[in-house]
């Protein structure tokens, strides 16, 4: 029994169902307000009948700084998924998919070339989730995360930079099929 709508600042007072889950990070207020201030249509929530937030997605639209315009790693105008979370009790209902689709609609409204996101290479569930939604690995960012989520013997973990073309990229010029073979270093990611 849910409703999808834009984020409002008061929603942070109803975040517990999502944010008490150990996999969801709680940020400083300014972080949430930054997304609300700059990209309000890309910050969507899903609330239950009592007004509790049972899922939310935070996204933004941007391009790399102009100084990198001629770099091979330059990113043109695109949308980015910063955070996506669904409360444990609300999972397996397609809420995550609906939130991503709504963000994609907002990305199209902002005329973005593509949507991208970062995910731990060990997070097979998330990778499968995004692949099902049409995302593919564009590049592998070596040792992007400071610690490994599943292997305590390792002190770093790779990130998959996953992408999906938005309507503007009708020819699919900003995605690639063999992205897992393209490795970059964290300093190449801005």
């Amino acid at each position: 029994m849910t409703t999808f709508r834009r984020f409002r600042p008061d929603d942070v007072n109803k975040f517990s169902k999502c944010n008490l889950d150990p996999l969801t990070e709680t940020y400083e207020l300014s972080f949430y307000l930054q997304y609300y201030a700059k990209w309000p249509s890309l910050f969507q929530v899903c609330e239950d009948a009592e007004g509790n937030i049972v899922g939310y997605i935070m996204g933004k639209v941007e391009s790399s700084p102009d100084a990198y315009k001629y770099s091979e790693h330059y990113l043109p105008w695109h949308a980015h998924i910063t955070a996506l979370t669904v409360a444990p009790e609300a999972r397996r209902q397609g809420i995550g998919k609906i939130l991503v689709e709504q963000l994609e609609a907002a990305a199209d409204a902002h005329n973005a070339w593509f949507m991208d996101l970062f995910v731990r290479s060990s997070n097979s569930k998330a990778i499968a989730f995004y692949k099902e939604l049409g995302y593919s690995v564009f590049r592998v960012v070596k040792d992007y995360y400071g610690e490994h989520a599943t292997d305590p013997d390792k002190d770093s973990e790779d990130a998959f930079d996953m992408r999906k073309s938005m309507k503007r990229d009708a020819k699919h010029e900003h995605v690639r099929d063999d992205g897992e073979k393209h490795e970059v270093h964290p300093e190449d990611v801005w």
Binding site: M1, T2, T3, F4, R5, R6, R8, P9, D10, V12, N13, K14, F15, S16, K17, N19, L20, D21, P22, T26, Y27, E28, L29, S30, Y32, L33, Q34, Y36, A37, K38, W39, P40, S41, C46, D48, A49, E50, G51, N52, P88, E89, A90, R92, Q93, G94, I95, K97, I98, A105, A109
Partner: protein, 955 residues
């Protein structure tokens, strides 16, 4: 503004730049003075003033503040925006933030007006005014500079945006779009459309709004078709406020009927909120429009066949179908006839449950609908239909989760008023087991439910290879349900939450705690288990264990405001040493509570507000200040200060002045503090006819406007009596007179403020808290009256009455610590759970003792000053005061004695075996699954607390 040292503006020579960056202030002063003379530039004069403000000399320190006031009073202008930025930096922390609107704000306005074409300066000045929330100055920076022209600004805004909207409509009407490039500024983005709605709603007439919602481009339905849902939701809210149910119905219907390019229904509007609005609207218009119900039925059927279906949307639509029947069908028929579902609503509800019973959210989805059924219908679902659905192998996830749903539904029924009726002899009877009951809860039925749940829990956990999903999703909730059955008996309606619990009730609490602790060991970090256990431990006085559990679930930063009170409220009264700032764990816990406000409210408004302006996010421009203002007035924020101050007082730790803390200085008497607690993650399975369990488990009422004000006033009273200036401070001649005036004025202010908050409902604080606040209020009045004592007046009777009342408050406070315990272990457990009352006794006695001490000392000074015998208090009154002081001292000794005794009991070797015997004494099904492995942890926690109490200063 920016507290970091700014850079001097471009063009300033390197020598001065370097000296400024190095903080070499004497050199900066010398060089700036030289440059000012040579270049005749006001900027350098102000650099000099700012440098002077960095010196330690107190007279020089305020050079920048004095300069600003001089500019303001003389009406002169600082033309260089870099200079104003410097002045703002130099006066940070030296000027009251509220003075901005009278000082830097107007100076910034003058600066902008002096150079209207300098957009960079204008935007910097506007930014500063917004961050300081000086809207009067900010508004004057717009081209229209006339003050007090709110209506004019409103009309202008409306006309401007209407013109832009018309331009959009014209371009849209022009099919080839030829005029798009040449047309004036248009309303294009969703944010601009929302702004259009805001302005028309605020400043326009009903006709203007009607015109807007009829626009082919800007009507809510047209906007929705473009994927802009927010505009439609805004319009529905407005229609509802206006009671225009026909408009609500039409708009919701139109949005729900939205199709994509392939003619498929989009489902974008298929939210439960939209369905509810549609059904609500139909219930209002169905008499005038009988077809409205059929329209809803058709929509439901159409949407269910959409190709875009997702499980979540399907759930919403199926539930909307049930809601429609509950709200729109006749509700006068019996739900059950001859043991079979008869009413349409029960049949629809069963259809929904049969489709959704494996969803973890099924119970919360249908809970309110279950409560609307008649008792026979609810009983049928709870005891027949759901158990039948759950039939099967208990190692199967589907079976166990359905059995859990059946148990939850039974628990809902047993806690519902509907499950009791009056027999012919007017005796209360349980309609489930037909036995006579004494209270709103049937102990027999609850015990049976507990027994069945325990047996089921036992059978599941004994099975080999328990399914991982059963372990993580079913067993924790099953354990909570068993605990709730036990707790419901503890909090039967004969017990008030604010009163102390009976020994039997405490035993229920301990059993529930031990059971849930065992379960938490299997499911570390489980949020529901952790929250319930945090409350249980605090209620039992076992705060140290509560802090461990709390730390694991990681409540921090943004969510501390809404969840903090669950753990921190009254924690200082339970375990003051736990939060000691001299201890790393205590500092860590206090930092988690306080840093959110320090970081988020550093500036009057956050810089994100400027981001919103720059991004054209107009709704965020409105939303951010509203939220920040509410956060500033949050009860949790005030609570964070009250808790910290009490801990410091209890432990004799030094602290900063209360007046200098914004959490105190911003809370004037008129401030309305806002209560925000997020109970969303707590299990809420009781019926709505009794108190939710999380309310029962709380130590007392949640932080409220009244209690927070009273707590801060009481802290101000303590500070007034105990304040000592820093050792380095050298009092000047005559300063003691000023100190005395300050003291008397503060006392009068407190005396005036307390009564504003003391009157009110009893359920906003615990009884010991109320007694304590009344005591401090009486003391303020007594002290004020004694200081102004006039022998010729009849005031003596009043004073005697106040002293008598104070003696009574002391007695009342002591009486809250009496209990019904029979055995020594019961007494010990009761005392361990009564630390809040002991703290309030401690605060009451300390307030009386220090207040009376001050009065007696003041009286001695008065007598020494005027030896005529005419000054000072009469001997009888002094004797009464000394009696009161003696009574307070006796209570202090008594309290100290209780703590010593408690320590010897809790630390003794036989405490654990005695406790274990007592916990397991008597028949109770829960014992079958109680491992007792968690008992040592509970005892450790109590022992730590009692040891911590040894640090408390009583006088």
């Amino acid at each position: 503004m920016n507290r970091q040292r700014p850079r001097l503006k471009n063009g300033v020579d390197l020598q001065l730049q370097s000296a400024f960056q190095d903080g070499n202030w004497p050199v900066v002063i010398r060089l700036a003075e030289k440059r000012a003379k040579t270049l005749n530039d006001q900027y350098y004069e102000l650099v000099k003033v700012c440098a002077e403000s960095q010196l330690d000399d107190p007279s020089a320190k305020f050079a920048a503040v004095a300069a600003i006031w001089k500019f303001v009073k003389e009406g002169s202008t600082i033309k260089d925006v870099d200079a104003i930025d410097l002045m703002e930096w130099a006066t940070t922390n030296l000027m009251d933030p509220d003075d901005f609107a009278e000082t830097l704000g107007p100076l910034r306005v003058r600066c902008v007006k002096a150079a209207p074409k300098d957009k960079i300066a204008a935007s910097r000045c506007l930014e500063s005014c917004l961050l300081h929330w000086d809207l009067a100055s900010a508004q004057q920076m717009s081209p229209q500079t006339s003050p007090d022209k709110r209506k004019l600004y409103g009309t202008l805004a409306q006309k401007q945006i209407e013109r832009a909207a018309q331009a959009t409509e014209q371009v849209e009407a022009d099919s080839n779009g030829a005029g798009a490039k040449s047309s004036p500024r248009r309303v294009k983005t969703e944010e601009e459309t929302l702004l259009l709605y805001d302005i028309i709603e605020t400043h326009g007439s009903p006709q203007d709004f009607q015109k807007l919602i009829s626009s082919p481009v800007f009507s809510p339905a047209a906007q929705f078709r473009r994927g802009r849902k927010e505009v439609a939701l805004r319009a529905v809210a407005k229609f509802k406020r206006d009671g225009d149910w026909r408009a609500v119905f039409n708009l919701c219907k139109e949005c729900l009927s939205d199709c994509d390019a392939d003619g498929q229904l989009t489902l974008l509007a298929s939210d439960i909120a939209v369905w509810r609005n549609l059904i609500d609207a139909a219930s209002h218009i169905k008499d005038a429009d009988p077809e409205s119900t059929a329209v809803i039925q058709k929509l439901l059927a159409d949407l269910l066949s959409s190709k875009h279906m997702r499980p979540m949307y399907r759930r919403n639509i199926l539930l909307a179908r049930v809601l429609a029947v509950f709200q729109l069908a006749h509700d006068d028929e019996s739900d059950l006839v001859d043991g079979h579902p008869s009413s349409l609503r029960l049949q629809e509800l069963i259809r929904y449950i049969d489709d959704q019973y494996t969803s973890p959210a099924c119970f919360s989805d249908v809970k309110s609908l279950l409560e609307s059924l008649d008792v026979a219908g609810l009983k049928y679902l709870a005891f027949e239909h759901l158990p039948q659905l759950a039939h099967g192998d208990s190692t199967d996830f589907k079976v166990t989760s359905t059995q859990l749903l059946a148990f939850k539904t039974q628990y809902l029924l047993l806690t519902h008023r509907k499950s009791k009726s009056r027999d012919q002899g007017q005796r209360l009877q349980c309609t489930v087991c037909d036995s006579t009951v004494k209270s709103a809860l049937c102990q027999t039925c609850l015990s049976k439910l507990s027994e069945a749940s325990v047996a089921f829990y036992d059978s599941v956990t004994r099975a080999e290879d328990v399914n991982a999903k059963i372990k993580t999703e079913v067993l924790p909730e099953l354990a909570i349900l068993i605990a709730f059955c036990s707790l419901s008996l503890a909090f039967d309606d004969s017990t008030q939450t604010t009163q102390s619990l009976t020994s039997q009730a405490r035993r229920h609490l301990i059993r529930a705690t031990l059971l849930l602790e065992d379960q938490l060991a299997q499911n570390p970090g489980h949020s529901q288990l952790s929250l319930v256990l945090t409350q249980l431990h605090i209620r039992l006085g076992s705060a140290y264990r509560a802090s461990d559990i709390w730390d694991v679930i990681g409540v921090k930063r943004t969510i501390i405001d809404s969840l903090g009170p669950v753990f921190y409220d009254r924690l200082s009264t339970i375990a003051p040493a736990l939060l000691s700032s001299y201890d790393s764990w205590g500092s860590h816990l206090m930092d988690l509570l306080q840093s959110h406000y320090q970081i988020s409210l550093k500036l009057r408004m956050p810089r994100r507000l400027i981001d919103a302006f720059e991004s054209g996010s107009y709704s965020s421009v409105m939303g951010i200040p509203e939220y920040i203002d509410r956060l500033r007035m949050s009860c949790t924020r005030a609570m964070s200060l009250a808790e910290a101050r009490r801990i410091e007082r209890f432990l004799g730790q030094t602290s900063h002045e209360l007046e200098s803390d914004p959490r105190f200085s911003e809370v004037v008497d008129e401030a309305q503090l806002i209560e925000t607690i997020d109970y969303g993650s707590f299990p809420s399975w009781n019926s709505s006819t009794i108190r939710p369990m999380h309310i029962n488990l709380r130590l007392g009422p949640a932080p409220s406007n009244r209690r927070c004000h009273l707590s801060l006033l009481a802290e101000a009273f303590h500070e007034l009596l105990t304040y000592k200036p820093p050792a380095s401070f050298k009092a000047s001649a005559g300063s003691s007179e000023y100190d005395h005036i300050y003291f008397i004025e503060t006392l009068a202010r407190l005396s005036n403020s307390f009564p504003k908050f003391l009157a009110g409902p009893d359920d906003e604080m615990t009884r010991p808290e109320l007694i304590y606040f009344e005591t401090v209020s009486l003391l303020c009045t007594l002290m004020s009256l004694c200081v102004e004592f006039d022998r010729s007046s009849d005031i003596i009777d009043v004073l005697n009455q106040i002293i008598g009342a104070l003696k009574l408050t002391l007695e009342s406070q002591r009486s809250t610590l009496s209990h019904d315990a029979d055995s020594s272990i019961e007494r010990t457990v009761t005392m361990l759970g009564s630390m809040h009352n002991i703290s309030m006794l401690r605060d009451t006695t300390t307030a009386i003792k220090s207040g009376v001490q001050w009065l007696l000392s003041h009286n001695e000074k008065e007598k020494a000053r005027d030896r005529s015998g005419k000054s000072g208090l009469p001997k009888d009154l002094v004797a009464q005061l000394k009696d009161l002081q003696t009574a307070a001292e006796a209570s202090i000794k008594e309290g100290q004695g209780w703590i010593s005794k408690l320590k010897s009991e809790v630390m003794s070797r036989d405490f654990e075996p005695k406790l274990k015997r007592w916990v397991l004494d008597g028949d109770h099904e829960i014992k079958k699954i109680l491992g007792m492995q968690s008992l040592p942890g509970l005892i450790d926690s109590w022992q730590s607390n009692v040891k911590g109490w040894q640090q408390v200063k009583w006088a």
